[in-house]
């Protein structure tokens, strides 16, 4: 496989955390196999949805892909180039091209910094733009994500959850990355706001040709935004396929269990389901 079609190729990614015991000398007594041999690839401009329950290893996998934590073993190729095990210095210029959107918009923005600084800091740190140019780029982007240029000098606490998530998205996009890893970007938001953010992510993908790794436990949201879905359980991917295929014709038992547990917002159907399960018991 070469990096021509796929922006990201992950092969046999492993992240084990040691469990240590001992007072003076730490002995490794066991390991938590958080990510245990995960492989997937994402074609340029597409979205891979990663679903699984808490503890399935999906967030650890994301962080290992971005080299925010060092993988124990395995390969991560970005545009064909191996990035697993790169030094921080070598990794730094590549970070412009891969950014992250976080779950909790209340915790992921520094409350003491103004919006302009939060969104503009990546430009400063990477030495991409400064002064008036930086301000202009940040303001343009704020408008693009549904905020306004006047928000530049405001503080995070002046914004609602949905607006904060827009700020987080602007911060992720300001360096014009190719890959965006979104870890539960809508699960902390109100229902009426969730759809707005999902639609915004969709639009931005078309406009900027972004490639998404979209992590969530809500299969409905994942199906909506993803081209392909990978289902994770206990550190491994148990099923992978097109979004409709996985949701409509799941093959793996765990995927079936996960799908069956999603409540159906249709009282008649849910009554029928309950009748059926009572009859079967």
């Amino acid at each position: 496989m070469s990096g021509g079609e796929n922006l990201l190729e992950v092969t046999d990614l492993v992240k084990h955390f040691p469990i240590k015991r001992g007072i003076l000398i730490d002995r490794e007594v066991d390991q938590v196999r958080a990510v245990d041999g995960v492989s997937f690839s994402i074609p340029r401009g597409q979205t891979l949805g990663l679903v699984g329950e808490s503890g399935s290893g999906k967030s650890t996998a994301c962080r290992a892909v971005l080299q925010l934590i060092a993988p124990t073993s395995g390969s991560v190729r970005f545009e064909g180039e191996e990035i697993a095990g790169l030094s921080r210095r070598r990794m730094r210029p590549l970070r412009q091209q891969m950014q992250m959107i976080f779950q909790d918009p209340y915790a992921s923005l520094n409350p003491r910094k103004r919006i302009g600084q939060i969104v503009g800091d990546p430009l400063r740190l990477q030495g991409v733009a400064s002064g008036a140019d930086r301000r202009r780029r940040v303001q343009e982007l704020l408008e693009r994500v549904g905020l306004s240029a006047e928000h530049y000098n405001r503080f995070p606490h002046e914004f609602s959850g949905g607006q904060r998530q827009r700020i987080g998205i602007a911060r992720a996009l300001v360096l014009q990355p190719k890959l965006v890893v979104a870890d539960e970007p809508v699960s902390a938001l109100d229902v009426s706001i969730q759809a707005q953010i999902v639609n915004l992510l969709d639009d931005l993908q078309d406009e900027f040709g972004l490639t998404y790794l979209f992590v969530a436990h809500d299969i409905g949201v994942v199906r909506h935004i993803s081209d392909r879905i990978a289902v994770m359980n206990k550190g491994a991917i148990v099923e992978q396929g097109s979004a409709d295929e996985v949701c409509e014709r799941p093959r793996d038992e765990y995927t079936k269990k996960l799908l069956a547990a999603v409540p159906v917002p249709d009282p008649r159907e849910s009554r029928e389901r309950r009748q059926a399960s009572l009859g079967g018991a």
């Binding site: 229902v191 969709d202 547990a261 409540p263 159906v264 008649r268």
Partner: protein, 345 residues
Amino acid sequence: MSAPLLSVDGLRVGFNTEGGLVQAVDGVSFDLRPGEVLAIVGESGSGKSVTAQTIIGLTRSPNARIEGSVKLDGEELVEASDTALRRLRGERVAMVFQDPMTSFNPVYRIGAQIAEAIQAHRGDVGKAEARARAIALLDSVGIPDAERRARDYPHEFSGGMRQRAMIAMALALEPEVLIADEPTTALDVTIQAQILALLEQLNRERQLATILITHDLGVVAEVADRVLVMYAGRVVEQGTLDEIFYDPQHPYTWGLLGSLTRLDRPRPQRLPQISGAPPSLLELPEGCAFRPRCPHEFSKCPQQPPLEARLTEAPGHCDRCWLDPERKREKRQVAGQIGLEAPAP
């Protein structure tokens, strides 16, 4: 129909803040009967949690202004003394909170905490007896090997187990009313399904009257009998489960139903969304609070619509929208489904 166990009438809760009076709950009324599940649906700031907390007196403070009436079996709770309320909490009305991580004291064993709750209210129950009851309760909510697990500390329980233990504690004094505030929001879907099944079983077997507070209409569809939709402190629509899902009358309800991602239907190009954000309670728009986000706004909307039944065939189905019910049935159809069309730019 049996007599209501809990009657809430014209409940208003306001808080004095630096910015002025925040009317968090503005005129909520409903009846709850034994064995019934009432879902209160709304977003953050809609007043759904404040309503529930006020029922058992948890919002009492020098800065709170509580008006209206909450009657349990005919006994007025809004004016009840703190001592009377304390006795009633747990004994007759119990509450389960969203976050099972923070609802237990981390330094005491699970079983001991439940036993303590029993002894605090039932002076005549001995230590051994309270402990035995705690174990039986843990067993009844589906905790395997309850005798051993009762000796565990909260951190040794998983999220789902902790929520089960929370429910066991709520049931310890055999309350008649259970208030569950987002009981499954912090849980994985497979665990959520188990907890919902447990709540349903309790309802059936103990005739427990339940108020379920949630923002998830999928959860509502699974367990509720009746639904109250709240927006900016007011009830905008209330009715039976089927009325709310199949004949919703308020545009906000249409928007909520439309913006759900549904696995049982083909996926749409775009998710139907409700534009804008809920208003600040300090700067409510005049008239209908949903007006600034509503694509169907017309000349009457700057007047506050009363909550009333507008359908002759469904006298219990009330809403706060001036639109004519016949026109609503046309307007809420968006791409063949109930939804809220995007507002004109």
